[in-house]
Amino acid sequence: MTDVSASAHASFRPSMLIYDRRYRSLTFQVIVFILVMAALWWLIGNTISNLNAMGKSFDFGFLFQRAGYDISGTPIPYTGNDSHLRATVVGLLNTLIVSILGCIAATILGVAVGVARLSKNWLFARLMTVYVEIFRNIPLLLWILVIYAVFTEILPAPNAYRGDDPAWSMILFDHVALTNRYTAIPTLGMDNDPGSLDLGARVTVNWATIAFVVALVGGWFVRRAINAHAQKVQDRTGVRPATLWKNLAVMILPSLFLIWYFGLHLLPPALKGFNFTGGLNITNSLVVLWLALTLYTAAFIAEIVRAGILAVSRGQSEAAFALGLRPKRTMNLVILPQALRVIIPPLISQYLNLTKNSSLAIAVGYMDLRGTLGGTTLNQTGRELEAIVLMMLIYLTLSLIISAGMNVFNSRVKLKER
């Protein structure tokens, strides 16, 4: 044994690059590096010669040219005279809108269904199982197309709501009208409009919105301070002061005050001429995409929630009851922290999936990032390479941001082991 290692130290033979475990990995990595570099060199060389042959160049200057196409449903002001860059931003915002709305709704529905599947009620649990299995095993594209067909084929034109005895009537106390082109929902009106803050590039934010955000964020911080104080008192005296009413007041009262101060009220849509006006007409492609993404993802989230709750063994809640904890505290202190550790990571990947699946907007003509940058802009400018590379980079950044943010959250709820 000593002889072998001594001889290995003494002389280096080329065959050791393969047969000696100390060098083998190095050799292997060098070979792989060379191969990868060769492949990249080949691909880039091909791309350059292909671009030259087609008389094209690789630059993103086209983003600053006039777009010249209209987008229905824009979150920021946009006209055909704006640049492709602004169209891209509009598309990105549309992607974000449908993703965020979808994530919120899918979480609510998914948690509800997941808990309902565990319910002792035989009928309801079976119904929820049927829902989950049907939505999980059929492609999302089918749900988008089916819901789109429901909206375009079954729902009426706006004028079906006309007259004293209309064929269709508005739902939710005459606040929402479903038509085959758009869904009319109420918008917010203000008696006391404080004006808007100009962010530049024709993007404005109403001061009232800012006030609400400040009130909510401030309320959240005050609430944290109240709870920290309650914890301190509890540690010192053993009695926890009542915090529920204080917390509710801190979270709700400032918003109520702002609603009163700005004179906020709902403006329901009303049929004028051929269309609904007064409210907000949301294009059906957004509603359809949002509904389909929500229903589809909620089925997956339901399974995740169910698995997470089942993963906490019965002994845990029994032990908590034996210690004399009440059901609510058992849930908050024992069950949820352990269930969340199982639930959060797959939940994050469902959010990522939903965001990526929102690119199926192509099926209903919703102008998301793929519809603007990867669709009309690509076709008009003929810059496939730049448009698709940029689109992939934007999606990639979005995914990385979501997973980074969620990982931070995850590391906070994670059970701290030794």
């Binding site: 393969i18 292909n50 095993n137 999302l140 089918l142 089916v146 067909a149 698709i388």
Partner: protein, 484 residues
């Protein structure tokens, strides 16, 4: 003793009473109802809500289903039949579209006189899968093989298959049944060869192409054999190198020359004739077959000690997982022309298969990495302690356990990938869901038919995906080694 008793107690029972039936509220249907449907106010409310949902669905859609028409040649004829049978104002489903457009949904635009070829390929696919899927149960194997043989041969006869291929299929089926009874491992070579056979059956063309592709690994094996005695490591490298070089530079021209000398082959079918479920299943099967090995390799690279290998696979996996499949499909359809030498133009279905495969492989890698991470550290240490080298340890100790842990994740990745095959509609291929249904609606006879095609396609996808998830549960139970 008995005297004292006789004085103090008037009666002593000396036999057991027969057990009485439980109270009416504690047994039977009443008990079950109270326990499962009406166990408290919330539970009762849930039952009522559930019953209302079922009643709503039933009352709104039952007449539509009950009035369905299965035999008509156009939507207007359908409506006529419904009107005549069920009277004014009745509505009904027109599933006749499925019957009338069945071939289009199943085979796309594949030449009708060659329908027997995909049918044969599907039958042989099941034969090839049997030794992998049902290796432990002779009963299931027998049933599956028998049903497959009968159905495939009957369909091939009905579709007008030439006698020679009918005979070939019959021989393979008989051989498979024989092998399954005697020694299942005899079927494995067929399973290994099947992918190449499937490609040839579906696309057709010269038989020399697949033969020369097969010759690559054979030559590689010869090279390995010649060198193995002297330098095992170099022999492996030489074998791989010979195979790759043969494929890259020799197999194509050689196949053309051989075809010129001795023409041999079946009618070629272009990729744009593929469509419907034939397309979905082709892409799905190819993607499943290739994404699992690729995913294992990626997962192992990500766990590797070698920095370069690890970072390359991390970048690859995270990049693929970070972008939607649609963008990758657009890369396949629009950008590959930029990346390849001028004049290269390879098949769109092949491009899509490659993209779907690497997409699924990235997800697979993460699933398997979870399985690898879940293995106790002691398993790795035990493998080292036994003196196994890296590949032996992976093959004999680590991967069997890690893959077993990750079965549910692997199968849901497969299911996701199979569902994602519908997205090929956006690069101009005829998937059964959107393009094919649009094509059906574009004809005069079936203009305006929405629900029936969607229900049909959805039902087929549901059956396949649900079967896959049930199979994964069966497999998990079968591989259960610990006590539960």
């Amino acid at each position: 003793m008995s005297d004292t008793h006789a004085e103090t107690v008037s009666f002593v029972r000396d036999t057991m009473l027969p057990s009485a039936p439980p109270p009416a509220t504690q047994a039977g249907a009443v008990h079950w109802l109270r326990e499962n449907l009406f166990a408290g106010p919330i539970n009762t409310v849930l039952t009522i809500i559930g019953a209302l949902i079922i009643w709503f669905l039933f009352s709104h859609y039952w007449d539509w289903f009950a009035h369905s028409v299965w035999n008509a040649n156009s939507l207007s004829e359908c409506r006529q039949i419904i009107l005549e049978t069920w009277g004014e104002g009745a509505r009904g489903a027109c599933f006749a579209v499925i019957r009338e457009r069945w071939n289009q949904y199943v085979f796309g635009f594949y030449p009708p006189e060659l329908y027997w070829r995909p049918t044969m390929a599907a039958g042989l696919l099941i034969v090839a899968l049997v030794p992998v899927l049902f290796s432990s149960s002779l009963t299931i194997r027998r049933a599956v093989l028998a049903i497959t043989a009968v159905v495939t041969l009957a369909c091939m006869v009905a579709l007008g298959s030439p006698a020679i291929w009918l005979g070939f299929t019959a021989v393979v089926m008989a051989g498979a049944i024989f092998a399954s009874e005697r020694n299942l491992s005899w079927l494995l070579p067929f399973s290994m060869l099947y992918p190449l056979m499937m490609i040839w059956f579906l696309w057709g063309g010269s038989a020399w192409g697949p033969i020369f592709i097969l010759a690559g690994p054979v030559l590689g094996w010869v090279a390995w054999r010649l060198l193995a005695g002297r330098a095992p490591m170099i022999a492996v490298l030489a074998g791989i190198l010979v195979t790759l070089l043969f494929w890259l530079f020799l197999s194509g021209p050689a196949a053309e020359d051989a075809q010129r000398l001795l023409p041999m082959g079946i009618e070629a079918v272009r990729s744009d004739r593929f469509g419907g479920f034939l397309l979905s299943v082709t892409i799905g099967v190819a993607g499943i077959a290739m994404s699992l090995p690729l995913g294992i390799v990626l997962a192992l690279s990500r766990q590797s000690d070698m920095f370069l290998i690890k970072s390359l696979s991390v970048v690859f996996i995270e990049f693929i997982r970070g972008v939607p499949l649609i963008t990758l499909l657009f890369v396949a359809s629009l950008l590959l022309n930029y990346f390849l030498p001028p004049g290269t133009n390879f098949d769109i279905i092949l491009r899509v298969i490659i993209m779907v495969t690497i997409f699924a492989a990235a997800y697979m890698a993460e699933v398997i990495r979870g399985g690898l991470a879940a293995l106790p550290r002691g398993q790795y240490e035990a493998a080292d302690a036994l003196g196994l080298d890296y590949w032996k340890a992976q093959r004999l100790i680590i991967l069997p356990q890690a893959l077993k842990i990750s079965i549910p994740g692997i199968v849901s990745t497969f299911i996701g990938m199979f569902k994602d095959t519908t997205l090929v509609t956006f690069v101009g291929l005829y998937d059964p869901l959107k393009s094919m249904s649009d094509a059906v609606r574009a004809s005069i006879e079936w203009k305006g038919i929405y629900w029936e095609p969607y229900i049909f396609v959805g039902a087929i996808f549901f059956i396949i995906c649900f079967a896959m998830s049930r199979y994964s549960m069966y497999l998990e139970r079968r591989l259960q080694r610990d006590h539960k």
